[in-house]
């Protein structure tokens, strides 16, 4: 009798994610995973039907986790500066706490699984951010721009800083640490750029 063991499943999921981030999805196989996780291939098949199923499950988990953290304490009805600040703090936290998951989601976006991912997350993100933007425009706190332009100005600066921070260095190899002061300063500039 094969019994499901939540701890074992967790260990397999974590190892699979690590491997895919490190070695890419094409070279990944259930047999390699079994070796790396020191379990028999049969054990992996107890939890997952095949490689596609495993990737889909990981995609769902990573996507849900990202949404949960990103929108924690956030409501589309918030004032623009308050709502955006919460998003910044949450997104930075997610990126720093779960770098593997973040990279995995990034990989998925450029893979055949990208469509499934955007079907699951894209709509919800668009809805929540769309409402938030509409409120802010109505309250004259935000210029009216397409969501892509909004995203690029609102979040890309944060992601650049966090990436520099994770690397420990910035442009031309200069040492870099992201401090609260720097983050607030950048956030101020972003607000300024988005004000009508």
């Amino acid at each position: 009798m094969r019994v499901r063991d939540i701890n074992k499943e967790r260990a397999i999921r974590e190892k699979a994610l690590q491997m895919m981030v490190k070695e890419g999805m094409d070279g990944f196989s259930m047999q390699k995973l079994a070796k790396a996780a020191a379990v028999s291939p049969a054990t992996i098949y107890i939890y997952f039907k095949d490689k596609e199923d495993l990737i889909e499950q990981l995609c769902i988990e990573a996507g849900d986790k990202m949404m949960e953290i990103t929108f924690k304490g956030f409501a589309p009805s918030m004032s623009f500066s308050e709502g955006l600040r919460i998003q910044w703090v949450n997104r930075a936290k997610y990126f720093m706490k779960y770098p593997d998951q973040m990279h995995f989601l990034e990989q998925l976006r450029h893979s055949p699984y990208g469509e499934k991912l955007s079907a699951r997350m894209g709509e919800k993100f668009k809805e929540i951010l769309g409402n938030f933007m509409a409120n802010a425009v109505k309250n004259k706190e935000l210029v009216k721009v397409p969501i892509e332009v909004f995203w690029s100005i609102a979040f890309a600066p944060l992601y650049s800083l966090v990436k520099f921070h994770m690397l420990g260095k910035s442009v031309a190899g200069k040492q870099f640490t992201l401090t609260d002061k720097l983050m607030n300063e950048t956030f101020g500039l972003v607000l300024k750029a988005l004000k009508p």
Binding site: M1, M30, A42, T43, Y45, K49, D50
Partner: protein, 71 residues
């Protein structure tokens, strides 16, 4: 619910076409799939009964290999 895992040589679509009606006809099988990308061509069965022997007999009867993959 029992999950049974087997190593097989059900490699190609033509093989799958032979196996499909047999497995689909078993009322104790709730769900099954074969991972044809895997080297072991793993047959995974979700079944109401825990009896791997019946499955092995069903598959080997039509000329394919089928053995339980050990934990």
């Amino acid at each position: 619910m029992n999950i049974l895992i087997f190593k097989t040589n059900i490699c190609f679509k033509k093989d799958l076409l032979k196996v499909r009606p047999l497995l689909s006809a078993c009322d104790y099988i709730i769900q099954w799939n074969i991972d044809q990308h895997d080297i072991d061509k793993v047959l995974r069965i979700v079944s109401t009964i825990n009896n791997p022997i019946i499955i092995i007999q069903t598959i080997t009867k039509i000329g394919y290999q089928c053995e339980e993959l050990p934990d």
